[in-house]
Symmetry: C2
Subunit: 117 residues, 2 copies
Amino acid sequence: MSSYTKYTPSTEARTELHDRLSLTGAEISINNLPAGGCVPFVHAHKENEEIYYILSGKGSAVIEDEAVELSKGDWLMIPPASRRQLYASKEEGISYICIQVKSGSLSAYTAEDAIAY
Amino acid sequence: MSSYTKYTPSTEARTELHDRLSLTGAEISINNLPAGGCVPFVHAHKENEEIYYILSGKGSAVIEDEAVELSKGDWLMIPPASRRQLYASKEEGISYICIQVKSGSLSAYTAEDAIAY
């Protein structure tokens, strides 16, 4: 296996990194919704928790019928079963990262998982 | 379980999200290295792949003795066993996200894992 993989996305509406980076523990997408736009469906997940990070702009997530305001710098975790839909604000688009990971899959992390040299 | 968790980090040197967001499939840190700074050790991981996203600035990752230049917008995946050390450039600091996930843990994702409503 290569010692690393690297990729620099363009500004497409959606860029998916799983295959481009040879990810095995996550799928990551970079998403750009224009002002007034939204992900055109409500969804939940079978196994994966989703972690969102807002890169720029403004919008909201409607989660189980509750609207959560989002702006640059916010982080949001949504467990698998919560129904969700993402919206840009009417005045301004929103750009965000969405990280999918299998719920409960992390065993150890940081110092506990590290090998120091 | 709550239907979501949300957090907005400050600009500390390092912010860890696992406990703040109740993550179960990842640890995520937001890191700010000043110009000329570096993570003060070389490390690898036992089980976790690391995914880096550069938020701003410039620097490099030295991975198995190879220097990989990094700047805003770059994504990098490092498998568990690769020895790595992160540096800011001499002229400019670097801010980045580091996502730790268990290598091989993702079973299905996106359409295959989704429940549409």
